[in-house]
C-alpha cells in the first residue's frame, strides 16, 4: 500500500495559488522598477536605462537557453556552457584577427567546434554513463584553459565592422541581438509547449524508463539535448564576440552564476515549478533590472556577486518549495 496518498486540494484554491505564484515574480519586478524609479528618477527613468537592461543581456539569454536544453531532459547540470560559449567567442576572434581567416568562415568553425563539444559531453554522459556534473565541470575548465592558451592570456579584438552588425544593428532602439535572443526563447517555448518533441523531453526528464517503454528514443534525445546545448552556446559566443569586436577568455566565467540564477528563478515565473524558456527569459531581465538599479544607487562592483549569488540561493529555494507544493 502506498504511504503517499494524494491529498485532495480544492480546485479553486489550487488555481488561485497557481495564478499567484505565476505572476508574483513579475509583480516583484514591477515593484523593483517603481522603487528605483522613485529613488533615482533622474537616472533610472531614462531611455538609456531601458536600453541597457534589454540591450545587454543577449549572452545570458543564449546561455540560459543552452542550459535549459539539458536541464529539461533531466541532466543536472551542464557546467560547461559558459566556457563553451567563451571558447566559441575567442575562437572567432583568434581565427579572424590572428590567423586571418574570413570572419564568416571563422564563425561557422567556432559554432561547429562548440557543437562538437556538446556532442562529446553527451557521448560521455549518455552513452558511457559518466556523471554529468563532473564531466561538464572538467570540460568547462579544459575549454577555459584552451581559450587562454590560444589567446596568450590577452584579450583579442579587431573583428570587422560589418560582422558586428549581426549583434548590434539597431532595430527600433534596441540592437538586433535582443531580438535574436527573444526569438530563440520563443521558438524554444513553442517546442516545449506545443510539439511532441517538447512533451517527450519533459517525460524523459521525469522518468527515463517510463519514457523508454513508451517508445521514446531516450538516449538519442539526451544526446541531442547536449549537442543542441553546445550549438546554442556556440552561436551565443559568436554573437557576443561580434558585439564586443573581440573577446577575453576569462570573461565567460563571470556568466556561470547568473546562468543558474536566471534559470532557477525562471521556475518561479509563468509555469511554477517547471523549467520553462519564457520564465527564464523574463528572469534574465529581472536580474538585469536589479543589478542596474543597485549600481545606479551607488553600489560598487561587488554588488553583482552579492546579487546573483543571493538570488540563486533564493531562487533554488523557491523552486524547490514550488515543486513540492505544485506536485
Amino acid at each position: 500500500m502506498t504511504t503517499h496518498d494524494t491529498l485532495a486540494v480544492p480546485a479553486r484554491s489550487q488555481s488561485l495559488g497557481r495564478f499567484g505564484s505565476r505572476f508574483a515574480a513579475l509583480a516583484f519586478w514591477l515593484l523593483l522598477a517603481v522603487l528605483y524609479g522613485v529613488l533615482r528618477p533622474e537616472t533610472f527613468l531614462t531611455a538609456g536605462t531601458f536600453q541597457t537592461i534589454f540591450g545587454s543581456q543577449q549572452a545570458l539569454v543564449f546561455l540560459t537557453a543552452a542550459l535549459l536544453c539539458t536541464i529539461i531532459v533531466g541532466e543536472f547540470v551542464d557546467m560547461s556552457v559558459a566556457s563553451n560559449f567563451g571558447f566559441a567567442a575567442v575562437l572567432v576572434a583568434v581565427l579572424t584577427v590572428n590567423e586571418h581567416w574570413n570572419v564568416w568562415l571563422a564563425a561557422v568553425a567556432a559554432v561547429a567546434v562548440s557543437t562538437l563539444v556538446g556532442l562529446v559531453n553527451g557521448w560521455l554522459t549518455v552513452l558511457l554513463g559518466v556523471n554529468t556534473i563532473v564531466v561538464t565541470l572538467g570540460m568547462g575548465t579544459f575549454l577555459l584553459g584552451l581559450g587562454l592558451w590560444i589567446t596568450d592570456l590577452t584579450p583579442v579584438s579587431g573583428l570587422p565592422y560589418d560582422f558586428a552588425q549581426i549583434a548590434l544593428h539597431p532595430i527600433g532602439s534596441l540592437p538586433v541581438g535582443f531580438y535574436e535572443g527573444v526569438a530563440l526563447m520563443l521558438v524554444f517555448a513553442y517546442v516545449m509547449r506545443f510539439t511532441p518533441l517538447g512533451r517527450n523531453m519533459r517525460f524523459v526528464g521525469a522518468n527515463r524508463e517510463v519514457s523508454r517503454l513508451a517508445g521514446i528514443r531516450v538516449n538519442r534525445l539526451r544526446l541531442g539535448a547536449f549537442t543542441v546545448a553546445g550549438l546554442i552556446a556556440g552561436v551565443g559566443g559568436v554573437v557576443a564576440a561580434a558585439a564586443t569586436g573581440g573577446f577575453d577568455a576569462t570573461v565567460s566565467q563571470s556568466y556561470l552564476l547568473p546562468i543558474f540564477a536566471a534559470t532557477f528563478l525562471g521556475t518561479a515565473i509563468l509555469e511554477p515549478g517547471k523549467f520553462n524558456p519564457l520564465g527564464t527569459l523574463l528572469a534574465v531581465y529581472f536580474l538585469a533590472t536589479g543589478i542596474l538599479g543597485l549600481q545606479l544607487l551607488g553600489a560598487a562592483g561587488w554588488v553583482s556577486s552579492v546579487f546573483y549569488g543571493g538570488v540563486l540561493v533564493i531562487a533554488v529555494t523557491i523552486s524547490t518549495l514550488l515543486h513540492r507544493r505544485v506536485f
Binding site: 500500500m1 504511504t3 506545443f194 511532441p196 517525460f203 522518468n207 519514457s211 506536485f327
Partner: protein
C-alpha cells in the same frame, strides 16, 4: 461489462489452435550471459491468444532478465528468437517495433509520471504533430485517449494530473495506455511487476478490467511476486528456476499457491501459513502505546507482550502504517503515551536515537530510501546502527569485530551470495531485505517494528525472513508488524489489530488466516477471487 457468449474463450483457443495459427508470443533459445555468469539458458515458451500467462520464479531465477530481454533492455545471445503472431522481431527488441506488432509493456508500479496529466501519460511517445507547425493536435490525441477508456468502459478525467487520481483510476490509466498498442482482440500486454503497489481493492478492480481485455482476445503476460495473485488470475504459468525453464505453459487450474511455490522452489515449503505462538501475555508488556495522535492516527493504542507478534492493518488511509514509525521515534506523535518495559517515555521528545537506546528497532517499508545505503557493502550497512549511534565517534572501527558479529546472521538468513563485502545494490530484493533485517537483529532488540517486512520478496526469502522474525520473538522480542498484505500478516502474527480512521476498530486473535483478515479490513462478506475463476472460464482439465 463483458459478454462471454460473444467473445472467444481464453485457454481452449490458446491450446487448441496451435497447429492452425501461431501463438501470440513465442520465445526460443533465449540465453543471456553477464561476464562469466549465465543467467538465462535456452528459455523458450509461448503465450496463447486471449490468456493471462504468468511468469514466475524466485529472485535470481532469471525472470527479470527474461522480461528485460522482452522489453529491449538486455541483448540475448545469438540464436534467440522472439516471435509475435509468428513474425520474428529484430533483436535486441526495440520498443517502437514491438509496439508496432502489438506488444505493450506496463512498467513496475504502473509506470506513470505523477505530475503529468492523464492525457499526457496516455499519449506520450505516440504524439503526432502537424506537418508544418509541428504542433500537437490535442483534439485528436484526446479522442484517441477517450476511445481507449470507452473500450474499457471506465472513465477517468483526462486533464487531471495522475498523482491526484485514486489508486484505482491510476490502474485504469495504466491498462488503457497499454491497450492503445494492442489491436482490438489481439496483441499482448506485458505487466512487469505492475501491481505490486496496489491495495487489495485496487487489485480487484485491476483484474476485473484485465479480465474484460483478455476476454476480447488480447493476451497478458503477468510477472508477479505474489503467488496468491497468480493462482487466482492466471490461466497458464511458466516457471523459471536458476535461469532454466522448469515448466512452460502449465495450466493453473485449481493449483493452489502452495503447489506453485513448490514448482518455483523445487522443494516443499514448511509451514507456509502458521502464526506466532511465542506470546507470554502474563509478563508486563514489552511495549505499550496508548492514545497516539498523529497526522493520520487518532487515539491509536497497542500493547505487545514479550515474545508476541502483533499485526496492524487496515485500509490505506486508516493510519495503521504510521504506527511502527511512531514507535521508532521517526514520526513525531502529537499526543499519547509510550511505556517501554515498564518505563514511561516522553513521546513529544522521542527521537530515533532515544528509540534505539530503548531497544526499539525499525525495519522501514521503503527499503531503497530508508532501509539501506544502496552503494555500500553488506557489512557497512549492517554496522550502521553501531557506527551511527552514540559512543566514541573518532575511535577506529574494528572491522574484524564488525564482520564476526555479522557472520552468524548471514548464515541464519541464508544471504546469497554470502559475501559481507558485496555491494547492496547488486543483491536481489529478497537479499536486500535480509540485510535490513540482519542490521537490526544483530543488535538483539527488545522491540521490533516492521513495515511490510516481506514486500516484493520471493517466496523462499519470505520463508527465511518470517522464520528469523519468529526466532527473535521466541527469544523474547516484542514484534509489531504493519502491513497491507494479508498473507504476510497471517504467516507472522499471533493477533491482528484492524485500524479504521486512525484507531483500532477490531481485533483478530488466534493466528487468523488471510481470508479472515481481508474480511475484517473491508468488513464486507469475504475475499472474492481476483478474477471469476475455473468452471466459469472453462479451463482444460
Amino acid at each position: 461489462m463483458v459478454r462471454p457468449d460473444r467473445l472467444p474463450r481464453g485457454v481452449p483457443q490458446a491450446l487448441g489452435s496451435e497447429l492452425s495459427t501461431p501463438p501470440r508470443l513465442r520465445t526460443g533459445a533465449v540465453s543471456v550471459t553477464f561476464g562469466r555468469n549465465r543467467v538465462l539458458r535456452d528459455v523458450g515458451f509461448e503465450v496463447g491468444a486471449g490468456e493471462i500467462h504468468a511468469l514466475i520464479g524466485q529472485n535470481g531465477s532469471g525472470k527479470s532478465t527474461l522480461v528485460k530481454v522482452l522489453t529491449g533492455l538486455y541483448v540475448p545471445e545469438p540464436g534467440a528468437t522472439v516471435e509475435v503472431d509468428g513474425v520474428p522481431l529484430r533483436l535486441p527488441v526495440r520498443p517502437l517495433e514491438a509496439r508496432a506488432s502489438g506488444v505493450a509493456v506496463v512498467h513496475q508500479s504502473l509506470g506513470l509520471v505523477g505530475e503529468a496529466t492523464v492525457l499526457e501519460n496516455m499519449r506520450v511517445g505516440r504524439l503526432r504533430a502537424g506537418r508544418l507547425s509541428r504542433r500537437i493536435h490535442w483534439e485528436h490525441e484526446r479522442a484517441q485517449a477517450a476511445r481507449m477508456f470507452d473500450r474499457l468502459e471506465h472513465h477517468v478525467p483526462l486533464d487531471t494530473p495522475v498523482h491526484r487520481l485514486s489508486e484505482e483510476d491510476r490502474a485504469t490509466v495504466a491498462i488503457a495506455r497499454a491497450m492503445q498498442d494492442t489491436p482490438p482482440g489481439g496483441g499482448l500486454i506485458i505487466f512487469d511487476e505492475s501491481t505490486r503497489a496496489l491495495s487489495r481493492r485496487s487489485l480487484e478492480h485491476f483484474y476485473e478490467m484485465l479480465d474484460g481485455v483478455v476476454r476480447a482476445g488480447t493476451s497478458a503476460l503477468l510477472i508477479s511476486h505474489r503467488l496468491e495473485e497468480v493462482a487466482d488470475v492466471a490461466d497458464r504459468v511458466t516457471v523459471l528456476r536458476d535461469g532454466e525453464l522448469v515448466e512452460a505453459g502449465l495450466p493453473v487450474t485449481r493449483r493452489g499457491e502452495g503447489e506453485l511455490a513448490r514448482l518455483m522452489l523445487g522443494r516443499n515449503l514448511a509451514g507456509l501459513s502458521s502464526g506466532g505462538g511465542h506470546a507470554r501475555p502474563q509478563d508486563t508488556p514489552a511495549v505499550e502505546l496508548t492514545g497516539v495522535a498523529g497526522s493520520r492516527l487518532d487515539g491509536a493504542g497497542v500493547r505487545i507482550a514479550p515474545g508476541e507478534i502483533v499485526g496492524v492493518t487496515g485500509l490505506a488511509d486508516s493510519g495503521y502504517q504510521d504506527l511502527p514509525y511512531v514507535l521508532a521515534g521517526v514520526e513525531r506523535a502529537r499526543g499519547g503515551t509510550l511505556v517501554v518495559a515498564g518505563n514511561p517515555v516522553d513521546l513529544a521528545q522521542f527521537s530515533p536515537m532515544a528509540a534505539i537506546d530503548a531497544g526499539i528497532a525499525l525495519v522501514p517499508g521503503d527499503r531503497e530510501r530508508a532501509g539501506l545505503a544502496m552503494d555500500q557493502s553488506v557489512a557497512e550497512n549492517a554496522a550502521l546502527p553501531r557506527t551511527g549511534g552514540r559512543g566514541s565517534r573518532l575511535a577506529p572501527i574494528r572491522r574484524r569485530a564488525e564482520l564476526a558479529g555479522l557472520a552468524p546472521w548471514l548464515d541464519r538468513l541464508e544471504l546469497s551470495p554470502r559475501d559481507p563485502h558485496a555491494v547492496v545494490s547488486r543483491l536481489s530484493g529478497g537479499n536486500q531485505q535480509k540485510v535490513v533485517l540482519a542490521k537490526w537483529l544483530a543488535r538483539a532488540p527488545k522491540v521490533l517494528a516492521l513495515h511490510e517486512p516481506t514486500q516484493a520478496v520471493d517466496i523462499g526469502a519470505r520463508e527465511t525472513i518470517v522464520a528469523a522474525v519468529k526466532d527473535a520473538a521466541a527469544a523474547g522480542c516484542a514484534v509489531l508488524v504493519a502491513s497491507g498484505d494479508e498473507n504476510e500478516l497471517s504467516m507472522l502474527c499471533d493477533r491482528i489489530l484492524v485500524f479504521r480512521d486512525g484507531r483500532v476498530s477490531g481485533e483478530l486473535t488466534g493466528s487468523p488466516g488471510p481470508d479472515e483478515i481481508v474480511a475484517a479490513v473491508f468488513s464486507s462478506t469475504d475475499r472474492r477471487p481476483l478474477r471469476g475463476h475455473n468452471e466459469e472460464r472453462g479451463l482444460v482439465p
